[in-house]
């Protein structure tokens, strides 16, 4: 055991509520002692559940352990408490790139670059993703079908500043936007208009499905030449729209949308 780990361990033992767990967890992670790192981070999160640093540490540990979905969730939590956390933006951007969602990867990295324009690693990552845009890195589980850990984009409060980036939007049954936004391929803000057009779609889908003997409706997938849309209802009163480039397979878009719907339900429970 190295000296720093020894001293950090002692410090944490003397004062369990100290933030030494952050340094200790990171030190253990760097040494590859991931189980120990996980226990330290877990303990720290128990005491400081709203500390972005703790969630960031946990995300890095889980990422090293291969739990990419867990890492994603932890970075999302980090951003919730600190929306400008560069490490979380980079981490999520990397995970999206691995999953083949280039648009979302670029979106997160661009946000990181805006916060710290001098971070060379961000510029390198952006250059790499743009160069590989035609051949994204293989995602886990690609041989067996869809990625086992579907990554969902967060419901962004801020529209992407990039041209023609697809979006994610939560709409209520009156045709009003609850969260998220949408931009057209020509980079116009179209969220409100689309929200209005979607008013009643859930009810219409429900009626169609019921009267045609299809049971309760689950989802609607719409393909167009310039983009694919996926609609799910996180609750009976809301509709979640996910829009992506048509290069993303529809089945994968469905997984992304279902994951986002879960997040939307949690958000609605908190804000309802």
């Amino acid at each position: 055991m190295t000296e720093d780990i020894r001293s950090l361990t002692a410090r944490l033992a003397e004062e369990p509520s100290s933030l030494a767990f952050l340094e200790l967890g990171e030190a253990l992670r760097r040494r590859g002692q991931l189980d120990a790192a996980y226990k330290v981070a877990r303990g720290g999160l128990g005491r400081y559940p709203a500390l972005a640093d703790a969630h960031d540490l946990m995300a890095r540990i889980l990422g090293d352990q291969g739990d990419l979905a867990g890492a994603f969730d932890a970075w999302v939590e980090a951003l919730r408490f600190d929306p400008m956390r560069i490490g979380a933006l980079k981490g999520i951007g990397f995970l999206y790139f691995r999953a083949g969602d280039v648009g979302a990867a670029l979106d997160h990295l661009h946000r990181a670059a805006e916060i710290d324009p001098d971070d060379a690693s961000i510029a390198q990552a952006l250059a790499r993703i743009r160069a590989d845009a035609g051949a994204p890195a293989p995602a886990p589980g690609i041989n067996g079908g869809p990625a086992p850990h579907a990554l969902a984009p967060e419901l962004s409060e801020t529209p992407s500043t990039e041209k023609a980036e697809p979006g994610l939007m939560l709409v209520d049954s009156n045709g009003l936007r609850l969260k998220g936004s949408l931009r057209s391929p020509r980079n116009e803000e179209v969220g409100d208009r689309v929200a209005a057009e979607l008013a009643g779609v859930s009810k219409e889908a429900s009626r169609t499905s019921r009267l045609l003997g299809l049971g309760a409706w689950q989802s609607i997938a719409v393909e167009s030449a310039e983009g694919n849309l996926y609609l799910v209802a996180p609750t009976p009163e809301t509709l979640l729209l996910t829009v992506r480039d048509p290069a993303l397979p529809m089945a994968q878009l469905g997984l992304i949308a279902e994951r986002a719907a879960k997040e939307a339900r949690e958000w609605l429970e908190q804000h309802g």
Partner: protein
């Protein structure tokens, strides 16, 4: 004569789609009116209801898609607990619709529909 040839093309298209495993019926409908133009349905399947409801849904989704600055839909899939409705809008206000069960080969149905709707439009 052109009208007769067109109906024959419609019959051929519907036949191909209904031969896909799990497809319980297919029909060509008028999107604006929600009326049946041609159909090939299993017993007990209500073509009129499919035409009216599918047309309504496709038009609504079309408005949302265009409102998002995208081109009109070329394929729509409404999934329910017990099956799905698939729709492939063509030109001239025609939409090819299929009602499928849970066991349907959705990928094949989609390909056949996209191919067929291009031939009848």
């Amino acid at each position: 004569m052109a009208g007769t040839a067109r109906m024959t093309a419609a019959d051929v298209a519907l036949e191909r789609v209904t031969q896909v495993p799990g497809v319980r019926g297919s029909l060509l409908i008028s999107a604006t009116d929600g009326l049946v133009v041609a159909e090939r349905l299993m017993d007990g399947i209500d073509g009129r209801a499919i035409a009216a409801l599918a047309a309504n849904l496709v038009l609504r989704l079309g408005r949302a898609t265009v409102g998002a600055g995208l081109q009109s839909p070329r394929f729509v899939h409404l999934r329910g607990n017990a099956g799905s409705v698939l729709a492939a809008p063509g030109t001239d206000d025609l939409v090819l619709v299929a009602l499928v069960g849970l066991d349907a080969n959705l990928g094949l149905a989609r390909l056949e529909m996209l191919d067929a709707v291009g031939r009848v439009s």
